[in-house]
Amino acid sequence: MLNMRNVWVVMKRELKSYFEAPVAYVFMVGFLVLTGFLTFFVTRFYERRIADLQPFFFWHPWVYLLLVPAAAMGLWAEERRTGTIELLLTMPITLAEAVLGKFLAAWLFIIIGIALTFPIVITTFYLGNPDAGVIISGYFGTILLAGAYVSVGMLTSAMTRSQVISFVMSLLLCLLLLLAGWPPVTDIFVRWAPNWLVNAVASISFMPHFESMQRGVIDVRDIVYYVSVIVFMFSATLLVLENRKSA
């Protein structure tokens, strides 16, 4: 159904456009400085004297909260504002191919950022004997988490022509998904909602799925969870774009 060649062409253009503007460099430097600072100075990577990446991955959900909505906010909002969406969607490709191409481009962009954190892995191996399996599973988990954030950012980007609105909406939505299982949030529901609803809200949270992979456990249920979030946001994006009234 999907012509992967079309997906590839759209993805390539989108990924290139990050690097044509200073956006990519500001983003990469921001990501690396922020994760570096938090890992080494806040969670005291050296002082812990434990050779693992736990204090590094710990910050990822929070750093993504700020940066991924920024990376995804332009995906559709900018196309709508400048009218290029009219060019893109009158080309001989399907909407799903265009959406998938853009999603993969933004995800790949974040993955490049994640890949650039490799010095911390080298450092850990130099200082001690960390468990390589836990590190691999940790990176796998953080990449999936980033994909879920990107899919949320793409949805809010499709809903508006304003990148600022997209940024704020996706930040709030991601924050909700992060904190959904946290007692202060579930307490709001506990008082009046039936138990199944409290559990449902708590179980949509990113956190438990992220944490188990940081401990080195790759559970199929966690993968299914992330894939479901991405598929849901992807379908919602398609629906929003199909029902737009104009550019």
Partner: protein, 244 residues
């Protein structure tokens, strides 16, 4: 080559296009006239597959836009209103992207891009980013994107809007050069354009066709024999009753 069948579009309670039908054959340049808000852009957006019609459809080279959108879109070149283009890309990269999406590869791609650059006279800015181009050049770059796959149907929404007289002349010349082997629709509200490039014209007003004929047939509708008078006669009353 292009057949539009009772195409209509509602935006909520507003009927923007109320059932329009017409044909365009090879060798024809159809002028699509009407006051602002008459439904020209909406109609073009439905033909090109950008907006889904509320009812009716368009057949492009035998392909229904609703049933086989990708096949229909392959046969269309489209220059949207205001000539949108990716500002951060260079002219050459943008055209290469358009050619790739159109399924061109290797030598075909290179030849198509080079031919479009020459035809649209954008050679001198090929390495410039699109955001830095003047309106006239941007218009031509977007025009190049529309013709590079040599489509049998070419649809242009106000291709000369906002251009200076010299640039308008160049764009009209390009349209005339291509007229023989394509079916072309040009929307405009500049009436001199009809005389300059069109073999036939449709006037729409309030979402409906109010006149369809060659420029001289249309002129004959008014005692003065001037297109301006025909246009005013056919569209003025309509506009007012429409907004009442």
């Amino acid at each position: 080559m292009l057949e539009v069948r009772e195409i209509a579009k509602n935006f909520g309670p507003i009927q923007a296009v109320k059932g329009i039908s017409f044909n365009v054959d090879k060798g024809e340049v159809l002028g699509f006239l009407g006051p602002n808000g008459a439904g020209k852009t909406t109609t073009m957006r439905m033909i090109t597959g950008f907006l889904p019609p509320t009812s009716g459809t368009a057949i492009v080279c035998g392909h229904d836009v609703l049933a086989e959108p990708v096949a229909a879109k392959k046969n269309i070149g489209y220059l949207p209103e205001n000539a949108p283009a990716y500002g951060s890309m260079t002219v050459a990269n943008f055209l290469r992207f358009a050619a790739e999406v159109r399924g061109l590869r290797g030598a075909d791609l290179k030849n198509a891009v080079e031919a479009a650059i020459t035809k649209c006279r954008v050679e001198s800015v090929r390495h410039q980013t699109i955001a830095t181009l003047s309106k006239g050049y941007r218009q031509r770059v977007c025009f190049a994107q529309a013709i590079l796959h040599d489509p049998p149907v070419l649809i242009m929404d106000e291709p000369t809007d906002g251009l200076d007289p010299n640039q308008k002349f160049v764009v009209r010349q390009m349209i005339r050069e291509m007229a023989a082997e394509k079916a072309i629709i040009v929307s405009t509200h500049i009436l001199e354009e009809v005389d300059a490039v069109c073999t036939r014209a449709i006037i729409i007003s309030g979402g409906k066709i109010v006149a369809n004929g060659t420029p001289s047939e249309l002129k004959a509708k008014s005692s003065t024999g001037r297109l301006d008078d025909v246009f005013r006669m056919l569209t003025m009353g309509k506009e007012e009753s429409n907004h009442a």
